[in-house]
């Protein structure tokens, strides 16, 4: 099964003909993803990578039966593109853009309320079910099919954890990047719920960072609702307060926002916390075996 995206997913790419979109659509297809077409307004009727290009998401869904969209449009146009995908009935929307104005995402979240869709991101490397479906910009070759779910705010730290896992022979059911923005589509709890419900996932690695309380909320949720073990890490122990550490959402604005405070709380709530980011794989291997 895996979560959110799988072998049967039919993917379209919004902003299809752009450079990054083209590169990653091609890479995804080489690694087993079923891309069925794309959308670039004004280029409808053309073909790109031997696939049809449409002017609107609505047309793309009608013609191809797409149920997943990877959004590769630049930040100023991303909110509009997400809402277009929502309106067209796309079930899983992956938003790569880093730099969407926060208030745009506030409106997107309101627009998404009551619709049965999952928005992954923004500011995410995307989502991958190894060997089945990749929607995003991560290097497919570092992932291997397996039974551990991975969810993280950061992209490169996700790669780091996955490589540590792969070195020890642990594969992934699905790896989800929920993104580094303060207002994002999907939180940790939603992803943990999906992993808990997925018969092909045995355990979860959750990688957070400074800022906000969602790691702690997720740990609390897991304690009350989850049967599968969770290994957790929060980046930014050495980050100074009040400074935005690259990601728009990675800022310590209070005592409870710090990495140490969050890891302490998570540990109290039963998460297997790793304090050294170099030992995420090793800890997971010990806890899960």
């Amino acid at each position: 099964m895996s979560v959110f995206v799988h072998k049967e997913s039919r993917v379209i790419i919004q902003g299809f003909t752009g450079q990054h979109a083209t590169f990653h659509a091609e890479e995804a297809m080489q690694n087993g993803t079923t891309v069925v077409g794309g959308v670039t307004p004004g280029k409808g009727g053309q073909t790109h990578l031997d696939l049809p290009v449409f002017d609107t998401v609505d047309q793309a869904v009608a013609e191809t039966g797409a149920d997943v969209s990877g959004i590769f449009v630049p930040p100023p146009f991303a909110a509009d593109a997400i809402m277009e995908a929502l309106e067209a009935g796309i079930g899983v929307i992956v938003v790569i853009a880093d730099g969407i104005p926060v208030q745009d995402m506030v409106r997107v979240k309101r627009y998404a309320a009551g619709r049965n869709a999952v928005i992954i991101g923004p500011n995410t490397p995307g989502i991958i079910t190894p060997g089945g479906c990749k929607v995003g910009i991560m290097p497919s070759h570092i992932y291997t099919p397996g039974r551990i779910g991975v969810v993280s705010r950061s992209g490169t730290l996700n790669y780091e954890a996955v490589q540590q896992m792969s070195a020890l022979g642990m594969g992934q059911s699905t790896s989800v990047g929920i993104g580094g923005d303060p207002v994002n589509g999907t939180d940790f709890v939603t992803v943990l719920q999906a992993f808990e419900d997925d018969p092909e996932t045995d355990a979860v690695i959750m990688i957070g960072e400074i800022g906000g309380q969602q790691e702690v909320d997720a740990a609390r949720w897991a304690k009350e609702n989850m049967s599968k073990p969770v290994v957790g890490f929060v980046a930014g122990v050495s980050a100074p307060p009040g400074r935005r550490m690259g990601h728009a959402g990675a800022i310590i604005s209070g005592e409870s926002d710090t990495a140490t405070a969050k890891m302490d709380r998570m540990e109290d709530l039963g998460v297997h916390v790793v304090r050294n980011p170099a030992l995420i794989g090793e800890t997971a291997n010990r806890v899960f075996s």
Binding site: P101, V106, R110, G211, G236, G246, N276
Partner: protein, 389 residues
Amino acid sequence: MNIHEYQAKELLKNYGVPVPDGRVAHNVDNAVAVAEGLGGDRWIVKAQIHAGGRGKGGGVKLASSLDDVRSLTDQMIGSQLVTPQTGKDGRLVQRVLIEQACDIQQEYYLGMVIDRATQRITVIASASGGMEIEEVARTSPEKVIREAVDPAVGLMGFQCRKIAAKIGLKGKQIGEAAKLMQALYRAFREKDALLAEINPLAIVNGGSLLAVDAKMNFDGNALYRRPQITELRDFDEEDPKEVEATGHGLNYIALDGNVGCIVNGAGLAMATMDAISFHGGKPANFLDVGGGASPEKVGNAFRIVLQDPNVKIILVNIFAGINRCDWIAEGLVQAMRELEINVPIVVRLAGTNVELGGPILAESGFPFIMADNLDDAATRVMETLEAQS
């Protein structure tokens, strides 16, 4: 992006928020002229720096004569103002805001933020004005009123009246406060703010409301559509290394350790700092080279990190997804050729084109210390530092 108090007040005034009569001054004569122009016999002289806690540092003073205005301005302009938020070196004061003094009868707190929990613009208010809201939230959380705004309809009048009543406003002040909140909300929305704070919001003689202090912070990602806000940026308030880094598309934050860090991705950059700390070291900086790091970008990263005299060693940690290890390696070699680099460099490469990156470094003849993984990298940094001392 932060702006000065006088800029925030000017902006909010245009939206209809009542603020004290006042103007900014860049020198003593200017300040006296402003005070004379405002009239009255008492003025407030306020140092304009981006950090908060100015009152505690002596940056907000009452002047009872024009001579006072002169001497206070003279003390402030050109001085390094130290407040609880500036660090021990303080910040250089380059201008002061001169305002007519007013008699404050009661103080409240009014703020707006984008709340992570509700993922909406949220109004925060409290009857405990003048205090930091974090402090109030810690000591008496029941005194902090929160009201989330539905983005589909905006901040409604009834919500404003509810907040006003909850903080204890009465009579005509309720309507006045509602008008003020609507004005603040419009400014927040139309200028893509992340934070707006009026602290204190005061009741002054005659019973009317006045925004005695104002602070605003704006979304850097929305500046492309807010040219008026972009113009308010004061580069003097920022670390020149950080400004230079931004210009090169790099994300740099200076810290106080001695291990320079060059990493791709914000999360991995933080984790790299954490791994160094875990091994007993101290990172000198946070630096994210971002995606698509060209050799030029890598060279610029080195230049910026090396401007910090405390740096004794540099750790380059790249996990290439959208990046390419061969480009990073070429950038490293180029930087070694062009810059005078006298500190050891530990390199860990992984991900896309790693098989091309390693040989480029090995064949360059430069003494890069290669590491296999994150743990190995942090260990080698510490070993090398110890061998040096």
